[in-house]
Amino acid sequence: MTTESVRDVAAGRLQSADYLANFADLHAPMTPHEAIVEADRCYFCYDAPCMNACPTTIDIPLFIREIAAGNADGAAKTILSQNIMGGMCARVCPTETLCEEVCVRETAEGKPVRIGELQRYATDHLMERHTAHPFKRAAQTGKRVAVVGAGPAGMACAHRLARFGHDVTIFEARPKAGGLNEYGIAAYKTPGDFAQRELDFILEIGGITVKNETALGRDVTLEALSDEFDAIFLGMGLGGVNDLGLEGDDAEGCIDAVKYIADLRQAKDKAALSIGRRVVVIGGGMTAVDIAIQSRLLGAEDVTICYRRGREAMNASEYEQELAQTNGVTIRPHLMPKLLERGADGAITGIVLEYGEAGPDGKLVGTGETLALPADQVFKAIGQSPVTETLSNAGIELEAHRIKVSDEGRTSHPKIWAGGDCVRRDDDLTVVAVDHGQRAAQSIHAALSR
């Protein structure tokens, strides 16, 4: 018996109705009744813990009170004034480790106010109904700012700059703007093309030009940008995922999870995506959980996440781990990839992992004991690598392979700011990228106003 005969990778594993159901909204939007009932639960805390836990410091008690008082659009303005991507954040924030984790009703009865869903209720309410953009541009300043990357960091920075009256040009490498909102976030968190709808909403402010398929380093240089513009913001995110460092890393069936998700997000017809019957995911973060769940939703029968340390060390929150499990994903901690098994045609047929434990110095060491898992596909989700050569060449200081920035997002170059995943600060989250972008805009505005 040859191993090839068992390898089973196929598209169209499900009926078309199943794809629709599987990739529908993770949480159905709140009805007005639900929103009022939930909003009534908020205590309007003083110096609210939830607000302090929000990376963009949205005034949560205020917006919830506005919902309760029947002013959902006002609530949305409260949210958007602090975070122009409040709609996306409402869908993708791991609220269980941010605002909702510290909600006093979590302390009181283990059930936080459902802040994320309320935020979505308010922002949806406004975005579905608004006739005019909720923010006005200040008088044009004549200053021009280049933004590299149209992800959350770049878009948030551009919007804030445009509000201040500056003109912004965004240079985006990909065919579509949005960054990981468009190419990375799990499909069931942002159905209905929300990323592009939100992008259009943000651009309504005016004064922002987006140049897609224009990459820094390929189509434009940092030098040219710094000659032409008064300031530059870098929000390029991260590059491809890290390799496992094993032979077969680029074999058929050993796949970059982020790249696969990008294809999934762009696929008009999810039935066209090929997925294995048995899938192994290597990693312990959001990407690992997302690819595992989405593999299941595409019809994979047997999906296992293997993580090298204990579950408590996983970057994916407890809630996300549970979500994976309720979607039929098995999580196996303390397993380190050791060997990729391949068939005669070179394609992946399985993976051998070694059990690991913390050594005396806390470092991970193998126990020698191994486990072989058959797999039609192995997804790599062990962190993305920064793309920084162009930058260090331009004299921008790096730190642990990412751009070094101050609190307000300044790099070592006086005309260049940076934020989002490409900098060495805080967690890699959409909301954090938004915060970085807005902070940098504030700082750029201060510098340009001098």
């Binding site: 639960r41 309007f44 805390c45 110096d47 813990p49």
Partner: protein, 438 residues
């Protein structure tokens, strides 16, 4: 709960428990009243009857407005309904039939006819013939009927109350309960008038003049009828404090002390009823709670009251009736030497900060928000005046309590705690006290 007896004898009207349905839609006809008795209500006051002839008509648009708390819990109800819009004969026939079928329950008949002796003389014998246990004079309805010189239009003039009560005592041999309107400055005056007219009891409160909300599209009060609205009568949990206060006024007025009182206004649970009884009421009447939840609530009321009486060792209602009356006093007699401080139970505190911001913004800056860089809420005794605001705004029951200082020195005033009693009448800051001393 074998030893507790909930039965009540209210100025000669007997009922198996003190819970009566107030005169209102729940008691409008035999169908409702019999369902209420099946559910366990001790008695009813039949929906107010008017004179013979064509009955009043109600609006055909909305009759109710409301105030809601969290989760649309109904806290206050406003209505513009009139007295019964059913024919007098039908009502009288049904009253007689129901009384025959339910001899152990109290049936009191509410009456409102024009302020003329003939009108009362005509209706009273008809009511008596039904075999009902007593009558209640509706001097309370604040809308519609008052425009026709009835209801609160009578209830606001003590002389009319006395006069009509006397007619009733003359033309009827039944117990007469006078139902008072709260839409008056001093509730003792109509109560005294009722007593002077020979009333066997008073009941209160009827509904309070109210506009619950204004429709911001029509710019008209709610409920809006074809673009217009009229004030209505307010009832439900929101009016209980007003009702308790008025009941206490009558209970402790030397002129009316001992006059039986049927307590009405916001009774929703057994506890509300116990409070009214503690203030001297011999029965309680309920309307809004039944209209919100249906008749079954009486089961909670009777069970809860019996349970509480049992734990307290009270065997009959008389055992605790009126026990709170002597403790209702005037502000000037409150003990100024009694010192309390708020105390926060840190194990219960969920750190919402509401106590802090309430005290900080609107009271005495006596609660911390941050201690050594950590979010922490604690009362500073040297600033706390013991006002109780924090207790009321804290979302966690019993998390903040007011603790009496029994010894030492009040760190706020620097004065030693005294165990004697001293009130405003003798306080040095009281100009009247100074004069008296001079």
């Amino acid at each position: 709960m074998g030893m507790v007896d909930l039965s009540s004898d209210f100025c000669g009207i007997k009922s198996p428990n003190p819970f009566w349905l107030a005169s209102a839609p729940p008691t409008d006809k035999a169908y409702n009243v019999e369902r209420a008795f099946e559910a366990g209500w001790g008695g009813v006051v039949w929906k107010t009857l008017g004179s013979e002839g064509p009955p009043v008509v109600n609006v055909n648009g909305p009759r109710y407005g409301a105030i809601h708390g969290a989760d649309r819990r109904l806290l206050g109800l406003n209505n513009i309904e009139l007295i019964t819009d059913r024919d007098l004969e039908t009502n009288l026939r049904e009253i007689a039939e129901v009384k025959k079928r339910w001899p152990d329950r109290a049936i009191v008949v509410s009456i409102m006819v024009p302020c003329e002796e003939e009108a009362w003389k005509a209706i009273l014998p008809r009511v008596e013939e039904t075999g009902a246990d007593g009558i209640e004079l509706n001097f309370g309805c604040p809308h519609g009927m008052s425009e026709r010189g009835m209801g609160s239009a009578v209830g606001q003039v003590p002389e009319y109350i006395e006069m009509v009560t006397r007619w009733c005592k003359t033309y009827s041999s039944q117990p007469v309960i006078v139902k008072l309107t709260p839409n008056i400055t001093d509730i003792r005056k109509p109560a005294r008038a009722a007593k002077a007219g020979g009333a066997d009891a008073v009941s209160l409160i009827n509904t309070i003049n109210s506009i619950t909300s204004v429709n911001l599209d029509f710019f008209a009060p709610e409920p809006t009828i074809d673009g217009k609205g009229s004030h209505g009568g307010y009832c439900g949990p929101a009016v209980k404090p007003i009702a308790l206060s008025m009941v206490s006024e009558i209970a402790r007025d030397p002129d009316t002390r001992g006059l039986p009182i049927s307590g009405i206004g916001g009774v929703t649970t057994w506890r509300d009823a116990a409070e009214f009884i503690a203030l001297g009421c011999g029965s309680v009447q309920v309307c809004t709670a039944a209209m919100t939840y249906g008749f079954k609530i009486v089961q909670e009321m009777t069970a809860g009251l019996a349970e509480w009486m049992e734990t307290k060792g009270y065997e009959t209602l008389d055992n605790f009736m009126g026990l709170a009356v002597p403790n209702v006093t005037d502000w000037q007699y409150l003990n100024l030497n009694y010192v309390t401080k708020a105390h926060i139970d840190q194990d219960l505190c969920i750190k919402c900060g509401r106590c802090h911001i309430a005290c900080e913004d609107t009271s005495h800056q006596a609660i911390t928000s941050m201690v050594d860089g950590v979010r922490h809420f604690e009362v500073m005794n040297e600033e706390c005046v013991g006002c109780n605001l924090c207790v009321e705004v804290c979302p966690v029951t019993d998390c903040i309590t007011m603790e009496e200082m029994v010894e030492g020195t009040d760190p706020r005033t620097g004065k030693p705690i005294r165990h004697d009693y001293a009130n405003w009448t003798t306080h040095p800051n009281n100009p009247a006290a100074m004069e008296a001393a001079e």
